[in-house]
Symmetry: C2
Subunit: 340 residues, 2 copies
């Protein structure tokens, strides 16, 4: 029986959102859950919201790792009793199959890297959010962990992202694009030029060349590969522009009685559109490259987001993504050794 560990004190809406999302996932998917966090508070939250904790185990962790804490301290003794560190420890000890948290992103990356460890041969672990675009979804890898990387790391991001988008998200032969400032092979800085050359030669990925910022939302690639600095700028600009535009549109619709009536008439269609672009449906971002499944839910995760994160993570476990990454890594190394 699969068992997912969920940090009950990660994110803006903790502990209610993680507790409620876990309860709903258990009911809907029949998955076992371990919640980490202050036991009394979790029980009180469940009781107050009429949530049954049947089939849900609680592992007590009195402290919380906040967004103000230095990410690297997730390994420290002082933080060992935080709900996040306890979750990592349970995963490491084999008490569960995967770990989900909506807490401090940097700490989740550091924990995946240093407490769970990288897959042998993987240079960097990566945050890899699956985001909405014009037609469906795409993965942005890396989007925040690694500010200084080498082409080899981008090659591994491409490979890991392809496997995840194929096995978990169901994309046939996902198109890999290198985020860059122009379409031609010679564009960009040294990192981009060297990465382009390497990606072109990588077996088992479907490299479609450079993808410009403008083409990312317009479905230019299924896996967009970049360093973490660039990825974070893209990710947040993406979110910011969508928020700003939706605010502007809301302003239009609430301007007068005529526009308010118009708004009412398109309400249902706008809701459908918003849902199709709703990151809560995807639940967040896998942390790829470590030896066990770690998943970052949005900081603003609601119960639904956590429930969806649990469903996605079950697919992450069931489809042996990590075994496939390990195997693909061997293939890449074999090919490159042959070439040497």
């Amino acid at each position: 029986m699969m068992k997912i560990i969920v940090d009950a004190f990660g994110g803006d809406n903790a502990p209610l959102a993680p507790v409620q999302g876990s309860v709903e996932a258990h009911k809907e998917y029949g998955v076992d859950i371990i919640l980490t966090g202050d036991e009394a508070v979790i029980k009180k939250t469940a009781a107050e919201n009429n949530l049954s904790l049947d089939g849900i185990e609680i592992v007590h962790a009195p402290d919380v790792f906040t967004n103000d804490d230095q990410p690297s301290t997730i390994r420290s003794k002082a933080k060992a009793n935080t709900s996040m560190a306890v979750g990592f420890q349970l995963l490491k000890d084999g008490k569960g199959d995967a770990f989900i948290s909506a807490g401090n992103s940097g700490a989740l990356g550091a924990g995946a890297m240093f407490l769970i460890k990288r897959i042998k041969g993987i240079q960097r672990v990566a945050f890899a959010p699956v985001m909405p675009n014009m037609n469906s979804y795409f993965m942005l890898i890396d989007s925040g962990v690694n500010t200084d990387v080498r082409p080899k790391a981008l090659q591994q991001f491409a490979m890991m992202g392809s496997i995840y988008m194929n096995k978990v998200m169901g994309f046939e032969n996902p198109r890999v694009g290198l985020a860059n400032v122009g379409a031609e092979e010679h564009k960009g800085d040294t990192l981009r030029q060297e990465s382009y050359a390497l990606l072109k030669e990588t077996p088992s990925i479907n490299f479609v060349g450079n993808v410009e910022g403008r083409d990312i939302p317009l479905d230019g690639a299924d896996v967009v590969v970049c360093d973490g600095f660039t990825g974070n700028m893209i990710l947040k600009t993406y979110e910011g522009v969508a928020i700003a535009l939706m605010k502007k549109i809301k302003g239009v619709f609430t301007k007068n009685i005529k526009t308010k009536l118009a708004a009412a008439a398109v309400m249902k269609e706008f809701k459908e559109m918003k849902n199709s672009m709703d990151s809560d449906e995807i639940g967040g971002a896998p942390v790829l490259g470590c030896t066990k499944p770690v998943f970052k839910a949005h900081g603003s995760a609601k119960a639904k987001t956590i429930k969806n994160a649990i469903r996605v993570t079950m697919d992450y476990v069931n489809n042996n993504v990590i075994a496939s990454i390990t195997e693909a890594l061997r293939e890449i190394d074999d090919t490159q050794n042959e070439g040497e």
Copy 2:
């Protein structure tokens, strides 16, 4: 009398858009114009569209610098008869006060750098588009020319952007933000950390700290400073998300008769909203750091865009932006020498 040189063969809608925009600008602002490009074609285009070329001088240039040409070749003998190279030569020779083109961006940057030359002490010239945000406008500097820069260049971008936004766009004490992956001073790579320290100590700019991607469209700063690679990714992601969202919304409005009626009811307000975000109103991007005003109009510039670019460029000339940059540069150097 001010005289603006306009490349009649730059951009997707050339030569009609540059010719018509120039004719309208001459009529509306009384400014003299030199058009560069194939004289016969310009005259034919004007005649066919009932545009009077009174007050508009044509300097014949039989060739066109295309988007497929290597930017650096703008300096070459082979390209000396392109409408862009001829425009640069006229500017260099003092035959006009400023040069505007909607053509190859890279070539315009290279021409500004090598044919017009940098202001003494300026490390890099920068493309600095003025873009719409939630409330008004902001400048993104650099957004494409320089992929590898040092903190000193970012400091100069901050200073040049502040002067332009103040003198040409009328911003009182413009807020300067460093594009970065988090708000805190220690965030980002080495370039960001060192640039933060330098910007904090820079006289006569209003540095407000780091600005994340998410805050850029939400009016987090009036001048957003970054290297050209990052700026290009931000710029194009920004445009792409807006385009994708507007397409989605159009899809909603054209779904059925009910939504079409709703669309009709909010048409006027949507148009106003679109205008408030319309980059055609701003006309494009100054190239900052060279000794004479060079201005890049959007590749997709329409006649209105060119007309607006001419108006903005007149302000660029009239307000002595380049003299102010030269002076501010001296101030920075004085302060830093004192500190040494």
